[in-house]
Amino acid sequence: MDFSFTEEQEMTRQMVREFAEREIAPVVMEYDESQQFPWEIIRKLAELGLLGILISPDYGGSGMGYIDLAIIIEELSRVDPSIGLTVAAHNSLCCNHIYLYGTEKQKKNYLPLLASGKKLGAWALTEAEAGSDASAIRATAILRDGQWVLNGSKLFITNANVGEVAVVLAVTDKSKGAKGISAFILEKGMAGFRVGKKENKLGVRASDTAELIMEDCSIPQENLLGKEGEGFINALALLDGGRVGIAAFSVGIAQGVMELCLKYSKERVQFGKPIAKFQAIQWILADMATQIDAARLLTYRAAYLRQQEQRSTKEASMAKLYASEMAVRATEKAVQIFGGYGFTKDYPVEKFYRDVKIATIGEGTSEIQHLVIARQILE
């Protein structure tokens, strides 16, 4: 058994860490407060190849794997979860759906633009009435005169405003349930396709979340992505990779707050000594460190399995469940260790405490992860 990262992976981690600390850390609060999309940072990430992580160089990508993806999302989220989430959704959902299931023509058309970051991508499954129960979506796509006509709306879609390409799931045959759902590639500017309300969120406020609306949106027949009726099945397979991303997002956040706590608890003096000298604080820190490592091991195991193209549904769900719940606890404890200062926006733990909560909700809530894991072990 070998737990070491390759030299390239270590280099990638160091590069992303340095980038995040120098270029992102100074402006994190500014973007959070204004809820502006950090275009300047995203453009720099694009130049470094971070918007085409999994895509082969044949389509202008970086040709890296799921372990590298996890490293990158972990390191970005350690400094700014909003950027971690933007990068995760673009790479592991939108790009990867086209990369894994697209035709050669679709891949040639879209991947170079997405991988180079000239266009950002969104991935739209959730609807107002279909979140956890995702196969209950109501958006429809009907083939009419050689064109797909889409109707319906998608809620809580990451990169909905800023993205110019969207993979959208819609029902093509209602009688077949989950096997009657297909995926489509939509582009901004197509008639009948528009952005709805932008969400005002608790956390990850510099990540763009909004509604996507299709009203008699007519698209070429060739924009069907994957086989007709396989959109939902492909989406589930995709989520095995996506959940590794959310697990890495969680590990990064927890690592970020732990480092802040270690520093703060050694500096903050109460009762004549640094609070790190109190056993009550030491217990919290020891638990944090242990649980972060456990989550990290689950995360990289799931990434490894996925990279080996082995089945990883259970392992990805376990990693996502454990890491996200762990990170929520860690940020709560971090605010506690910072005391009154942790409750203010002058100290960074307050933002992590808000940002982390999406991890137990997005790409399947914790309850849904329990269902997935239970189904796998009872099989």
């Binding site: 390239e8 270590e10 280099m11 340095e18 992580i53 970086s62 890296m64």
Partner: protein, 262 residues
């Protein structure tokens, strides 16, 4: 144009330094090693020169133990074309005369038009390898450079001296040592990282450079590290608060009692 960049791998500037049991070296058990930051400027300048001339080759050279190859790979990931790693148990990468001599042999074998070094290696901070190397090669040297314009046969270098900028023109080949401010080093891209392993990294030892053990030993030890000590802990400061009449009193009392200055 053949652009040589000499790089050293050094302890991370954020690493917590502990002294090894022998008292003469640092304990490297838990230390993360990086490219000497001043040499990141040198690499960046080499890459920019190649890009602006539209031709050339950037070759990295490092003297150091096995781990130094990681620094060379990082430099290749930034965009350098190939690397030479000189590793020999006879060598000591912290001995400036020895390192400069070894580098001069390798660089003479390689051929060169332009040589870039960092102004100093953080940690040991000798500021010597660049100037000694230029001297051994018999070429001009401009140190502590903050701006550099290279054309095919000459260079114009700027350096900050007391209150003014000094501008120096020199024919090539020449050697320059990079100071902070020379440029903003790029981050290696993911593509650069993936390509780094495919680029040539040549391993050399003293024998390859035509140096016998005896010759190496003769060069060594012109300066010896006798002892390393950590800087003394900064004594606790005093914050005086309140009205000026109060704070002055507090300060005087402190200066009398705690410091003996008054």
């Amino acid at each position: 144009m053949k652009i040589i960049v000499c790089i050293k791998q050094v302890p991370d500037t954020e690493a917590k330094i502990k002294i090894a049991p022998d008292g003469r070296a640092i304990d490297d058990a838990e230390i993360n090693y990086i490219i000497n930051p001043y040499e990141e400027y040198a690499i960046e300048e080499g890459l920019r020169t190649k890009e602006s001339l539209g031709e050339g080759e950037v070759i990295l050279i490092s003297v150091g133990p096995e781990r130094a190859s990681t620094a060379l790979r990082s430099g290749l990931a930034m965009g350098a074309d190939r690397a030479i790693h000189i590793n020999d148990s006879l060598l000591d990468e912290n001995d400036p005369l020895l390192v400069a001599t070894i580098l001069s042999k390798a660089i003479q074998q390689e051929g060169y038009n332009l040589i870039l070094c960092g102004v100093q290696g953080v940690g040991t901070d000798h500021y010597q390898v660049g100037p000694i190397l230029a001297e051994l090669l018999g070429i001009p040297h401009v140190g502590v450079v903050t701006k550099l314009q290279i054309s095919p046969d000459k260079a114009v270098a700027h350096r900050e001296i007391e209150g003014v900028s000094e501008v120096i023109e020199t024919p090539l080949p020449a050697l320059f040592t990079a100071q902070k401010g020379l440029n903003e080093p790029r981050y290696p891209s993911l593509k650069g990282i993936m390509m780094a392993k495919k680029k040539p990294l040549t391993l050399l030892d003293c024998q390859h450079l035509g140096l016998s053990e005896e010759e190496v030993n003769k060069l060594k030890g012109k300066a010896l590290i006798i002892k390393l000590e950590l800087p003394p802990m900064r004594p606790k400061g005093l914050v005086v608060q309140g009205e000026p009449s109060e704070t002055v009193k507090q300060l005087i009392e402190w200066l009398q009692k705690e410091t003996g200055i008054l």
